[in-house]
Symmetry: C2
Subunit: 223 residues, 2 copies
């Protein structure tokens, strides 16, 4: 029996309200996703989760602990699904990339969820005072780019990408597009708008995967 | 004489402190840029600007008024410079686009300023409770995409883009890249990192400007 269940039974007012950690986490995740880390207070989280403050403190320690748990919840619910789309067997690199980006377009504009990517939205407005949280989000962000880079590396080793393709640059470019799509979703873009962005990217994909190792060959214009 | 100057003289404590609206706005802009709209309080703004609370209220009405003024300040200091780079006479479309994106890469990672684009960073974490502010930022956001679209339209009418190029899709794609670059900057990307993204984009630019009008020809993969 959890502390909350025990506390409820002890109080004996009406039926004991069971504390469902996952449901509470989903509610907390939604609050953080909509409002950001700093603008969300423990009072907001108590309201949103329907749990009692002592329960939240007992389960998660503090706001930061609850936020960390919400990040893990998001990663396991959404980010890992994206990774699975990239690594599904039997797809060409082009199919896998398009499927991954189309799924992101759908998730970012899913009307049952806040818009955009939780990690991207939340990290955009963090202040220096939340350095630990910012570091956590940076790690998660880089995880996304790392996932893309590892995927591209595997495909390159399997001969699906030219050997001279700059994998790091391509992964960064793809991550940048994904992040831009998240911003657009937050800004009111529709599923169709994001699909247009993916279509544009897929149109230039055959050239994109030839992105060379030496950018110094491309003379930067004098501003 | 401003209200603040008059008030200072009246009080007569030491030298009258002149209220410099532009300096105060720059400080307020930096606060909002770093922390976002909701996480910045009037108390923070009083601290940051060094002005007295009644002065800020007299000049700007409330936090939202100060924020609106900060947005205008940002637009006139940074966004209009970007627009000027696009419309500078004597450049090809390719030169103008590259110059615009390289300047954004430099501004987004300028160490004397908060990272990324102020408009993009701030809007990412707005809650539904700040609907008026969100609407203001959406308008500003769209202004950026509109600027790019108008630029492309002019260049198309001058014969620099194929007539079948989907200007709206291309403008949205460019805006998405710019927004992704802002997120990356916020996330710790260096000037060089962002320049690599621009170089990648410029590598596929010759294909990008051929982005066709009919995306339905590109069959979306079944997810």
């Amino acid at each position: 029996m959890s502390i909350e269940q025990a506390a409820c039974l002890k109080k004996g007012r009406g039926r004991p309200k069971q504390f469902d950690r996952d449901i509470a986490l989903d509610k907390a995740l939604e609050m953080f996703w909509r409002h950001g880390y700093e603008a969300t207070s423990m009072a907001d989280l108590v309201d949103a989760t329907g749990a009692k403050a002592p329960t939240l403190y007992a389960e998660f320690g503090n706001k930061e602990g609850l936020f960390r748990a919400a990040v893990e919840r998001y990663v396991s619910k959404f980010a890992e699904k994206g990774k699975a789309l990239l690594t599904r067997p039997g797809s060409t690199i082009t199919e896998a990339v398009e499927r991954f980006f189309r799924a992101a377009a759908a998730t970012f504009t899913d009307k049952s969820l806040p818009s955009g990517c939780f990690i991207i939205c939340t990290s955009a407005a963090l202040s220096a005072s939340s350095e630990d949280v910012a570091e956590l989000l940076r790690t998660r962000h880089h995880l996304q780019e790392n996932t893309l880079r590892e995927f591209l590396q595997v495909r390159q080793s399997q001969g699906e990408l030219p050997t001279q393709t700059n994998i790091a640059a391509l992964a960064k470019y793809l991550a940048c597009t994904l992040q831009g799509m998240s911003v657009q979703a937050r800004d009111g873009a529709t599923h169709e708008d994001l699909d247009t962005i993916v279509s544009t990217m897929m149109t230039v994909w055959p050239e994109l995967i030839r992105v060379g190792a030496d950018f110094t060959l491309i003379a930067a214009l004098e501003a």
